[in-house]
Each structure stands twice: as structure tokens, then as C-alpha cells.
């Protein structure tokens, strides 16, 4: 009985959260289409999300690409198809690994920082301070952060893929002796703009919107305590990562991207 009650409470709580999240997202959307545009704040936030994530994204990309090159070569050589290494590495990265791994990395680095930043503003009454100055915190604080995540994610994804392709090339061509021309041409033949490049950009934009929404919501609705800051940060990473993986399946199943 107690377990049932707890389940009921959690279900109701979850539905209430979803309702609040919907209103929150509606509020952001409402502010996005209305001036003031706050370009300067948007640029600052893109710097925080994008530029400060460059090192981790590029390094991870190169490493993932190198591992893919190694594993792909071992598998393909069993079938005598080493020449398709470029296509396998390229397609895996562009269609799946690039957007997903970039979103997970950015959730861990920038999403958590975003949630912690807003939650700290809640705790130190900076958000209430803005409200008392008749400045809408959703417009001033949340909107630029959420938009920055949406815009930066596809760019980071592109960089991740670029560095991963380079890592795969280094291992496949430089280390394992696959012909460079074959590697590049098999990749060129396999990847199309409409299906693959546009798809990966769309996917990462959706992940960006998702992570931005979760991070800002968790920060904005956090308890005004240090424990609240910590919970919002952890919650962002956990919820954001699971949401990215779930949506990845849904997008792939629905649109084949």
C-alpha cells in the first residue's frame, strides 16, 4: 500500500513537472519571437557553451574516430572489405555517433554548468532581483542560454565529426595502411547531403533544444539551497543524457535519420 502510494505520488509529481516544463518552454518560445533580441547576451552564451566546449569535443572526436578506424578495420578485414573503412567510419559518425556523443559531452560540460549557474542565481536571489527590477528572468537569463545551446550544438557536432574523421583517417591510413584515396572516396560515395548531413544537423539541433530546455528548467526550478544547486546539476546530466538517447531512437525510428 505504501509502495503504491509512493508510486502514485511520483506519477502525479512527474505529470505536474511535465505541465510546468510545457509552460516554461512556452514562455521561452514567447520571448524568442519578441524583442528585445539580446544579441550580445546570446553571443556571450554561445561562447560559454560552444567555445568552452571545443577542447573536450575535439579531443573526444579524434579519439572516437581513431577507435572506430581500428575496430572497423578489424571487422572489415574479416570480409576483405578494408576499402570500405572510410564509408563505415563516416556513416557511423555522421548518422549516429556524432550527434549523440556530442550531445552527451555537451550535456556533461555545458548543460550542467548552465543549470548550476541559473540555480545559483535562484539561491542568491539574483533571479528575484531581476523580477523586482521588472526584468523577466526567462527573457534575460533563460532565453539566451537555451538559444545558445540550440545554436551551438550543431556546430559542435560538425566539429566532433570532422575531428573524428581525421582520427579515423590517421589510424586507417597512417597506421593500418589503407589507401588514402580509397578511404576518402568510399566516404564521399557513401555520405549524401540530404540524408546524412542535413539529418545529423537536424538531430543535433533537436538535441540542443532538448538539453537547453532541461538544463534551464532544472536550474530555474531548483530549491534555493546549495543542495538544490547540486540536485539541479546532477538532474540535468541524468535527465539530459537519458532524453538524448530516447529521442535519438524516436528520431531514427520516425524519420530514418
Amino acid at each position: 500500500m505504501k509502495a503504491l502510494r509512493r508510486l502514485g505520488f511520483r506519477t502525479v509529481n512527474g505529470i505536474a513537472h511535465l505541465g510546468r516544463l510545457t509552460v516554461f518552454v512556452g514562455d521561452i518560445g514567447n520571448n524568442v519571437v519578441r524583442p528585445p533580441w539580446r544579441f550580445r547576451r546570446l553571443v556571450d552564451e554561445i561562447f560559454d557553451v560552444g567555445v568552452l566546449s571545443l577542447v573536450i569535443v575535439c579531443l573526444s572526436g579524434a579519439t572516437v574516430g581513431a577507435v572506430l578506424g581500428l575496430q572497423g578495420y578489424v571487422t572489415l578485414s574479416r570480409f576483405g572489405a578494408e576499402g570500405s573503412l572510410g564509408a563505415v567510419v563516416g556513416l557511423s559518425l555522421v548518422r549516429e555517433l556524432g550527434p549523440v556523443l556530442t550531445a552527451l559531452l555537451v550535456t556533461g560540460r555545458a548543460g550542467s554548468a548552465m543549470a548550476a549557474g541559473i540555480a545559483t542565481m535562484v539561491t542568491t536571489e539574483q533571479i528575484d532581483g531581476l523580477r523586482m527590477m521588472s526584468i523577466d528572468p526567462i527573457d534575460y537569463v533563460v532565453k539566451p542560454k537555451a538559444l545558445a545551446m540550440l545554436l551551438a550544438m550543431p556546430m559542435l557536432n560538425a566539429l566532433f565529426i570532422l575531428f573524428a574523421l581525421f582520427g579515423g583517417y590517421l589510424v586507417g591510413v597512417g597506421l593500418l595502411g589503407v589507401d588514402g584515396g580509397t578511404y576518402v572516396s568510399s566516404m564521399e560515395n557513401a555520405i549524401t547531403f540530404e540524408d546524412d548531413i542535413a539529418g545529423t544537423l537536424l538531430k543535433s539541433a533537436i538535441f540542443g533544444a532538448l538539453v537547453g530546455m532541461i538544463a534551464t528548467y532544472r536550474g530555474y526550478t531548483s530549491e534555493p539551497t546549495s543542495a538544490g544547486v547540486s540536485a539541479s546539476t546532477t538532474g540535468t546530466v541524468v535527465t539530459g543524457s537519458v532524453a538524448v538517447l530516447l529521442f535519438d531512437y524516436v528520431i531514427t525510428a520516425l524519420w530514418g535519420v
Binding site: E125, Q126, D128, G129, L130, R131, M132, M133, S134, D136
Partner: protein, 258 residues
């Protein structure tokens, strides 16, 4: 409406507010006259800060009415509240300055958001306000580079930069040394006398409260008792008033002027 009611810029009627099962206000009635300094006293957890937050529309009571500048803030949407908040400045307990911005940008923020002043005029206004609170040449500093007293004064400069009618001050003296207490107290008195601001100040600091207040409001068990400082001191008719009177007597020798 009586003459007394038109004079009251802020008025609370039968306000009931609780957080979960913990009641804060149980039918609170009080009024804060225009152009006066009102100090709100009460023990920890008596709802002093919550009272200011209710006046600012940051928390909504479950029942009752909160009149601010002629509008019932309990019935206004967040966007409609902005209209009322344009007439209010608020000094938060820890300043609540945006920590990513310099002191100058913090004080300039309301002007940049709500006025069409040129950057030159904004700069002049900010420097004037920082000078008025005794913080000239601190504009370039970040909030974390300021001491507690300086932080409160910078926050006060931000609170008054748009010339509000009402200034809410949450525990402005807490954690400050006696010199800074006196400095901020004098600032409040000057603002009140020169600009005619209505100041609502929560405090635990009895000597300064008695020195500057035109009205003292005691919060006790979810209700308010108010009166002039002299009446409160000499005719303590509540448990809280007796408590604070005793506190005053204990603190008086060290606070006395040479």
C-alpha cells in the same frame, strides 16, 4: 476611503500565508504610510522577509489583499506586476547583484532596460548614485570584490537608480560592523528626507531601528502590531515588544554616542 487609507502606500488586509503546513501569516493586517521609514521587527522565522516578498509580489498569500500603490498585487499576473514593481526598489539581504557583471553594469541595468537614456547619461546617473551611497570609483569592480557593507550600498544604489516611490530593504544591517550600520542608516534617513521615499526595512538591529523609524511593526505569531518607536519602547504590550525592549536595554551602552 478614509484619509488614512489614501496615505498608506502599502497596506495588507487579512493576509494568510503558509509554506506547506507551516503558517507564516494568520490574518495579518498592517499599513505603511507614504514617505515614512517603517521598520519591521520580529523574531527569526516570524515572516519579516516574507512580508517584503509578498509586497513585491514574489510570494502570493493564500488569502487576503496586499495593496501597493493602489493595486492589489495578489491578483496581478507576473507581467502586470512589472507595472507595480516599476515603483518599487528592493534591497535584498545579500545584495542580489548579478555576479557576472561589474558594479557599474549592475546599477546601470534598470536604466538600460527601462529608459531611453543614452550611454553617456546612464554613466552620469550611475556615477551620481554610486557617489550618493559613498561608493565613487567602484564601478569597475565585480560584486565579489566588495565588502559586505559596500555590497549593500551598491545594491541600494541599484534599488534607487530609477527613483522608486517605495524601497523594500531586507535585513540591511545584518553582519555589518557598527560603522557600516551607521553609514547605511544615515543613507536611509537622507533618502527619506531628500527624496520622500517610503522605506520598509526589516531588521534585528534595535538601536538603529529606534533611531530612524517613524513606525515600527512587530510581527508576532502571524499578526502585526505597529506603533511609533517611543510607544513601543515605553508601552510594550506584546511578548515580542518586551523581548525587543529587553534587547535594546542590553545593547544600549555599546551603541551610545560619545
Amino acid at each position: 476611503m478614509s484619509a488614512g487609507e489614501t496615505e498608506a502606500r502599502v497596506r495588507l488586509e487579512d493576509v494568510h500565508l503558509s509554506f506547506g503546513r507551516h503558517p507564516i501569516f494568520r490574518g495579518l493586517d498592517c499599513r505603511f504610510p507614504r514617505g515614512r521609514i517603517s521598520v519591521i521587527l520580529g523574531g527569526s522565522g516570524s515572516g519579516k522577509s516574507t512580508l517584503l516578498r509578498a509586497i513585491g509580489g514574489l510570494v502570493r498569500p493564500q488569502r487576503g489583499v496586499v495593496w501597493v500603490a493602489g493595486e492589489d498585487v495578489t491578483r496581478l499576473s507576473e507581467r502586470e506586476l512589472f507595472r507595480v514593481r516599476d515603483r518599487i526598489g528592493m534591497l535584498f539581504q545579500h545584495g542580489a547583484l548579478l555576479d557576472s557583471m561589474s558594479v557599474f553594469d549592475n546599477v546601470a541595468l534598470p536604466l538600460r532596460e527601462h529608459t531611453d537614456l543614452s550611454e553617456h547619461d546612464v554613466a552620469a546617473e550611475v556615477e551620481r548614485r554610486l557617489g550618493a551611497v559613498g561608493l565613487p570609483d567602484t564601478g569597475a569592480l565585480l560584486p565579489r570584490e566588495l565588502s559586505g557593507g559596500m555590497l549593500r550600498r551598491a545594491a541600494l544604489a541599484r534599488a534607487i537608480v530609477t527613483d522608486p516611490e517605495i524601497v523594500l530593504c531586507d535585513e540591511p544591517f545584518s553582519g555589518l560592523d557598527p560603522i557600516n550600520v551607521r553609514r547605511i542608516e544615515n543613507l536611509f534617513v537622507d533618502l527619506n528626507r531628500q527624496l520622500g521615499l517610503s522605506l520598509l526595512i526589516t531588521s534585528h538591529h534595535i538601536p538603529s531601528s529606534l533611531r530612524m523609524a517613524d513606525q515600527i511593526v512587530f510581527l508576532q505569531e502571524g499578526k502585526a502590531v505597529s506603533g511609533a518607536p517611543k510607544d513601543m519602547r515605553h508601552h510594550p504590550d506584546t511578548r515580542v515588544a518586551r523581548f525587543f525592549a529587553a534587547e535594546l536595554d542590553a545593547e544600549a551602552p555599546e551603541e551610545s554616542e560619545p
